[in-house]
């Protein structure tokens, strides 16, 4: 690919194309209890990804 047609760093992501979204197939195994799921915002522990608010001080 010539420099003029490069629109992203393809050397950093050799197997990926620009603007392709992907979702790996999930395998259901463990789960939270319903009350815990409601408070965490997901029933699936593997999808629990809380935003960490960092205190700058």
């Amino acid at each position: 690919m010539s420099e003029s047609t490069r629109h992203y760093h393809d050397d950093m992501y050799p197997d990926m194309e620009l603007a392709r979204a992907y979702v790996p197939i999930q395998i259901y195994d463990m789960s939270y209890r319903p009350a815990v799921a409601l408070s965490k915002g997901t029933f699936f522990p593997e999808l629990y990804r809380p935003y960490m608010v960092k205190n700058p001080y």
Binding site: I25, Q26, Y28, S31, P34, A35, A37, L38, F43
Partner: protein, 83 residues
């Protein structure tokens, strides 16, 4: 509003959320037997709690019968409940 009524409401909301989560998973995994079994169990549990709640405290939705007088307005509105 009694503590038991809050507890039932919270449990029903948690089950509603769980049922929705498993339904979304089942949309893409319709042959996952464990997910389907768990979904059905949570639905049955939810149905049971809904019956207990409505028997004691009145309708959860408009699509239920009501005693006299109209029960639907007897409870606090959702935004008035402090969970």
């Amino acid at each position: 509003m009694h503590e038991y009524q809050y507890k039932l409401l919270r449990d029903i909301m948690a089950l509603d959320f769980t049922i929705l989560e498993l339904a979304l998973y089942l949309d893409t995994h319709p042959r996952d037997k464990k997910a389907l079994k768990d979904h059905n169990e949570y639905v049955r549990e939810r149905k049971k709690l809904k019956e207990i709640y409505e028997e004691k405290y009145g309708p959860l939705t408009l699509a239920e019968t009501s005693e006299y007088p109209w029960r639907y307005i007897a409870d606090p509105w959702p935004w008035e409940i402090k969970y």
